[in-house]
C-alpha cells in the first residue's frame, strides 16, 4: 500500500492534548476530525487533504492514552505519520486504528512543509525531497495486526479461530 501526500511539519513532544482536546472525548469520530491538531494549529483540519502526512520530531503523541487522537487524525484524512520517535500508547493506538505510523529520523530531517512524501507501507521505503530512506521495520507481531487493518480485525480473527477450535 502506498501513501502519497503533502507534508505538514510539527516539532518535538507534541502532546495528545494538542492533537485532540480531552473535552471532545465523547464526540463521534466524524466530529473529532474538526479538532485534529487544534492545540498546535486550529486551521489544520481545513489545510489537510486526504493522504497528507504529518512529519514530526521526537516523542510525538506524548501524554494521554486517548484514542480520539488517532481517530481524529484518521477522520481528517491523514494518510500517515512519520516521526523521529513516538510516545508508546499513541503508537499502539495508531496500529490498533490502522493509521500508518513510521519511525524514520532521516526522512524527518529531510522533509520540508508542503513537499510531497511517498511511503511504501509494506517495505517501509520513504521518498522525500528526491531522496530515499528506510523506516524502522515493524516487528512481525505488529505486522499481523496491521494486516488485519487494526485490532478489531485482529480480534475478529482470534474469535473465529477460537470458535473453530471449540467446534473441532
Amino acid at each position: 500500500m502506498i501513501v502519497e501526500g503533502r507534508i505538514h511539519v510539527f516539532g518535538d513532544n507534541v502532546t495528545t492534548d494538542e492533537i485532540m482536546p480531552m473535552h471532545k472525548a465523547a464526540a463521534t469520530p466524524a466530529e473529532l476530525a474538526a479538532y485534529a491538531m487544534a492545540g498546535c494549529d486550529p486551521d489544520f483540519p481545513k489545510k489537510v487533504k486526504p493522504g497528507d502526512v504529518i512529519v514530526a520530531g521526537e516523542n510525538f503523541g506524548a501524554g494521554s492514552s486517548r484514542e480520539t487522537a488517532p481517530l481524529g487524525l484518521k477522520g481528517a484524512g491523514l494518510g500517515a505519520i512519520v516521526a523521529k520517535s513516538f510516545a508508546r500508547t499513541f503508537y499502539r493506538n495508531c496500529i490498533n486504528q490502522g493509521l500508518p505510523i513510521l519511525v524514520c529520523p532521516d526522512a524527518v530531517a529531510a522533509a520540508k512543509p508542503g513537499d510531497v512524501i511517498r511511503i511504501d507501507l509494506e517495505s517501509g521505503r520513504v521518498d522525500v525531497a528526491g531522496r530515499t530512506f528506510q523506516a524502522e521495520p515493524f516487528p512481525p507481531f505488529l505486522l499481523t495486526i496491521i494486516r488485519h487493518g487494526g485490532n478489531v480485525g485482529y480480534a475478529r480473527a482470534v474469535l473465529a479461530e477460537r470458535a473453530r477450535a471449540a467446534g473441532a
Partner: protein, 423 residues
Amino acid sequence: MGMTITQKILAHKAGKDRVATGEFVTVPVDLAACHDAAANVVMDTFEATGADRVFDPERVAMTMRAYVPARDPVVAQVHERMRRFARRYGIRHFFDYDGGPHGIEHVLYPAQGLIAAGDVFLNSDSHTPTAGAFGAFAPAMGWSDVGVGLALGTTWFRVPESIKVVVDGPLRPYVGGKDIVLTLIGTIGVAGATYQVLEWTGSTIRALPIEERMTICNMAVEAGAKSAIMEPDEVSQAYIASRGGRPGIVFRSDPDATYARTVSFRGDALEPVVAKPSLPDRVAPVSEVRGTKVTQVFIGTCTNGRLSDLRAAASILKGRKVARGVRLLVSPATRETYMQALKEGLVEVLMEAGATVSPASCGPCAALHSGVLGPDDVCVSTSNRNFPGRMGHPDSKVYLAGPYVAAAAAVAGAIVPPEEVAR
C-alpha cells in the same frame, strides 16, 4: 540470567518459564476496565469485534469519574449507554454515582479490593500504572485495546526493559511522593523511559505509606514509561487484605536481573519541587520559582486526590485563608475519600479556608468539567500534566506540585516553600 518482577509476571501469565525483553506475549487479563471518558470507544470496539458476551463479567469494571455529574447532553448519553452496557453484559463492578462507591479508578479499584499483586490490569487510561504500587503489571493503555480485551480476555505486550529507580534515606519535611516522582521526571525527561518500566526500590520507597507509593507509580507515563512497579511488601499486601482483595502472587526481581539503567537519589537531598509550564519534566525547586503569582489552585486527581493529600493540604490550610483573588478547588478522588474527609473534619478546614469542594471526579485536571482555566490564569495543580491547553485555554499556565506546595500557594497567593506558610 535473572528476570525483573515485570518479566516474571508476564512469563507466569504467558505460561512460560521465562520471557526476554523485546519478546511479544499474549496474556490473560485479571481485570479489564474503562471509565466514562473512554467508554464510547471501548464499547464501539467491543461491539465491532462481534462478540456476544464479555470474557468474564466478574472481571470487568466500569466507573463514572470524568464528567460526574453529567456535564452536558452528549456525556449524559455516554453515561446512559454505559448503564445499558453494564446491564446487558452483567458487568460485576459497575460504579455509578447512584449511592454506591464511585470515583477515579486508580484510587477506587484498589479500595474495592480489585487489584492484586501479580495481576495484569488492562484499563483504558494512561495513569493505570498507579496499580504498580501493589506489584501489579498495569501499563498505560488506549481505549480500543480494552474493547478488544473485553471480547478476548487477553491482550498482547512487548516485554519491556526496566529502569531501576533507587531512593534511599529519610525525607525532609514537606517532601512527598509527588516531589520524588517529579524529580525523577525532571532528571530523565518526558521521553526518558519510553517503552520501559520504572521499577522503584530503596529504603525511602519501602518507608512510604501506600498512598504516596501510588502517587509515584501514577506518573510513570509522564516520563514516557509503559508502567511503574514496586515489589509487594507488608504495606501493600496489608492494604489489599484490609480491602478484602485477593492475595495475588508476589513476584520479586532477581538480584541478577538486567536493567536498562539505574537512577539513584538520596531522599534527604530532595526538596519540594514544581514542574513549570508546559511539560512535566520542567522541574525546579520551589525556591527557584518563589513568588510566582497564582490565580487558581487545584487539589485532587488520581495523582494527589487521596485522603492523605487532603490531610496534607488541610495541615497547611487549617486556621488560614486563601489569598484574595485565588480560587482553591478541591476534588476528592472517590466518594469514599470525600466521606472520610468529611468525617475527619478536613472538608470543614478546607472550606473555612475558602475552598470550593466539588464532587468526587477528575475535576478540572483535563478541562473536562468545572474549573477550566482562562488565558491569564496561573494554576498550581496537584495533577499530572501541564501541557499547553491541558486545563483550559492554551495560554493558561499550570505548575504541577504536591499537596503541601499547592496549599501553601493558595494561602500566599504565590508559589512559596510550604514551611514559610506553616510556621
